[in-house]
Symmetry: C3
Subunit: 395 residues, 3 copies
């Protein structure tokens, strides 16, 4: 079948293209159903200058942030909010984020997205790593929490519609994390959604554009609060191993897969899972509410993202009631730790690392139940090993 | 009496309101006398992107900086300049301020306001503090000079006029200093002035929006140069105790309350005072020129701001000829020091800390004399203790 | 002769002048030959908000970056590109540069210019220096690579044409590197070119605007890749001494003056030269391609810029194939090292340090040959001392 594509380039610094405002309705998109793609620049407060691309497939809508490394800010599906309420009022322009502040936790000053990439050179806890400097000699470098990519703007942004039997809306963006002497990693991202569907698909390619091997880390910090997280909500995921990150998580181990009501002053609990997958590597994670009537499923491939971290942040609604489902190339420990465990990817010159991550929103008991059965089928025959204490191999 | 209020919202990120330019004359304000409120965005150099709200009550005019945490940039009263000439050409947009640079003194890169708040989580000298990180475990954190609030933009800004017997012009702003795992402190500020008057009133509320107790520090760095500071200018303030901060200040102790002509290469002298107040806590500080014909009075309450720091920076006009009158919750030592002395405020969940600070401009010998008599009345019967050396309790 | 000058002020923050877009052709410039001066603001990616002033004298064109301290981004002469291709896609707005990141190498996040100034308070390798703080007491300060000036915006920018026998196009800019307690250094720069010529002249004045002596460092990082650098390209410069910076450079010493083809994974080699000059201090450096048909000459005065550093970065085209010719007040070691060797300039109060640097582009064998003869004439009678190892006096 011959796909027809219409494309609108919003940003292309190489060709000095910059479209500040765009509004495409169904007519402009050439679709005979409700749909919309728009772009604008936000003003005021911490959002001053942030570019926002909004996509609405008629049922599912979501917003992409080219200014923040093509992160997914928030979404909505048939009226249900997708994302979480962060204490910081975002989206936050990188000019207000100082990664090295607060003991290397400055990244948090900008953290309020639903899906934010952590990487590309490094992610995880702040800490010192030993890296080659300009002279080729190793030097100590303080790495900040979760790396740089979420605070780098895309230099190329385009939106398009593919008019097949099922029209597809897409946002494309290219972000470089590069400088002289430093790694030259390029993220080329496509976020797409089929008209009227309950899902979006993130297809990312990370390219090593330097003629020497490069280390790379990538974690998808997918964050959901109400209505998917509530008192009694559950996380289902096929796995071979589960371990608490630290003593706080160990203390909550028996309830690792359930969530409580908002609890003021909650201290985060983090669990490291080794996902189990089908023979082709495909697997999923499912978060659903207590009633089993609202769920969000992430589908990905363990050959691309072999590690899964679960972040439970069950504070009050105002301070952060959210869980992070984090498929990744690694666990979010300090990079030196991950390297020691062989969980830092090395990309050869020109090599491209490809990742697909699909998010589905489920708004009925039937859909949630069906997804739960899928998880069960993947788990069938495999008894997860659950460690009561942090595992030396993980932490 | 039934006050009538007209309000213009300039920024409200929640509702995507953003007014780039506003010009309200007496007619638009509904006032039968000269008055003006305007808003614009500055361009070029370090001021690129700074929002400026200007208020003119017909006699006193001043400018507010929403982009810099609702600081008061400068003023003018019947032709006399209120503020100081900083070596940095401001107002400076936060994008150009790197707090962690220069040994934690990077805040100075943006410092040129007449009244700038120092806080909210911390203020004072840079230094390491031990604070809980994301895991709840304490971690060492390098705090920069004077905290973050002056480099955070307001996400809500409005101007209004209250048309009473005496019309009042007001600027309102809300600034959040918040992020996940970090304190969630909100400043809600109102700066108002009565038509034709010689005064402005700052009414601030700091709210702890986190469901756990939070530390808070707040200092009003009120800075005045010529024509209020000159050779022979004096500071009058009711107090029970005065102590030099360090050896340099101790050496100048006998002249603590007077100012010299601009002195190239001057090293700052800082004095810590414990203000004395009326039984209701109200007190004041008065700076006046040598001739006693020009003065600026600050009125505040020691129950809100129990500490007063006097900063003498008597350099040449170009390098900073200025004195800082600094009513505050604490002295601007490192926060760990202030905590040890019990001078860090703890706000309970939802608690609001309210501060009122009034600035009056005096342009006649009679006015200055009257204000001086007020200070004397407050001081009456109390002999200040003056320490020749830094006090362990203060430094 | 009575020169006639027309001037267009683009930025003057003191007078609130800000011209976002300007387009002056030959007619507006009053010149009867092709010529152009334009100004615009770039958008998208890392270049968001960067001001670009473009000058075209009919044969030579170049672009100046007021937002980046009046650096020279790129040029073109009769179709030949002047500059280099950095891994970072610039020009980069300072809001995206975090000098203290990456072990103090964060400056590299914005480095892609042809000519970028390193200074003014410090330049060279990152490291700790002991500097007076606000109290006058010495404090340790982490200085970042190459200082602040390249990431500070000009607060005054003007373009002008002088209509003499030979019309001259000029860009003027003023940039302050200043803050309370910190040095107050002002760069006043004029970049000019004669109509139809192959050259541009940078005339810089650095003024100490503080009433106390100030240290100052200034290095012109002049960077050229293809077509001036290629396999077999050569650097010619009159000198009395040459020494490798480190072991890597020592290993390449015998080929210090020649360049190889792009070599993936190349580790930088840096040579420190003491230039030799004519009795009046004038000297030059010449880079030309292997065929001797394309060259770029820098002319300067050793009384102003006594040190010359040669940076060989012969990586692949994508990772940085470039050589830096760096006339300077000092060698780019840590400032403490340079101070120990007496190579940090001290400016008295009000003192102005003046530098002239001329860049000529040569596009014929005859021109390159003639310039090479000039270098030989300067070198005549002086045998350079070439150290096989790093010299204690230089490194």
């Amino acid at each position: 079948m011959n796909e027809k594509i219409s494309q609108w380039v919003l940003t292309d610094t190489e060709r000095n293209i910059w479209v500040e405002t765009l509004e495409l309705g169904a007519a402009e998109l050439g679709i005979a159903a409700p749909a919309r793609i728009s772009k604008r620049v936000l003003h005021g407060g911490l959002q001053e200058g942030v570019e926002l691309v909004e996509v609405d497939n008629g049922a599912l809508s979501f917003s992409i942030l080219p200014t923040r490394g093509m992160g997914l800010w928030r979404g909505s599906y048939r009226g249900e909010f997708i994302g979480w309420r962060s204490p910081v009022r975002g989206p936050v322009h990188p000019q207000f984020v100082h990664a090295n502040e607060r003991g290397g936790l400055g990244w948090l000053q900008g953290f309020d997205e639903c899906i934010v990439r952590c990487g590309l050179e490094s992610n995880g806890a702040p800490g010192v790593d030993i890296l080659p400097g300009n002279t080729g000699e190793p030097m100590p470098v303080q790495l900040g929490l979760h790396g740089r990519i979420a605070n780098l703007p895309a230099h190329y942004v385009a939106v398009e519609v593919g008019r097949e039997a099922q029209p597809v809306l897409r946002v494309r963006g290219v972000v470089d994390e590069a400088a002289l002497f430093l790694p030259q990693l390029r993220l080329t991202s496509c976020i797409s959604t089929v008209l009227g569907s309950n899902a979006l698909l993130i297809t990312d390619e990370i390219e090593n554009r330097k003629p020497v091997p490069a280390e790379m880390q990538l974690l998808y910090h997918c964050n959901f609060g109400a209505p998917f997280m509530d008192a009694g909500a559950r996380l289902l995921l096929p796995r071979t191993t589960t371990a608490p990150r630290d003593a706080t998580a160990a203390a909550g181990l028996t309830q690792w897969d359930t969530y409580r009501e908002p609890t003021p002053g909650y201290i985060e609990q983090v669990y490291f899972h080794r996902p189990h997958s089908a023979p082709d590597g495909s697997t999923m994670a499912l978060l659903h509410n207590a009633a089993g009537t609202r769920g969000v499923a992430l589908r990905y491939n363990t050959r691309q993202l072999p590690c899964f971290t679960q972040w439970k942040q069950g504070g009050s609604l105002g301070e952060g009631y959210v869980t992070g489902l984090e498929p990744a190339t690694n666990y979010p420990n300090q990079r030196a730790t991950e390297r020691r465990h062989g969980r830092v990817v090395t990309l050869q010159p020109g090599e491209i690392y490809r990742v697909e991550l699909k998010m589905e929103v489920l708004l009925s008991a039937a859909e949630v139940h069906a997804a739960g059965r899928e998880v069960a089928a993947l788990q069938a025959g495999v008894t997860p090993q659950v460690s009561r204490l942090p595992l030396p191999d993980f932490s």
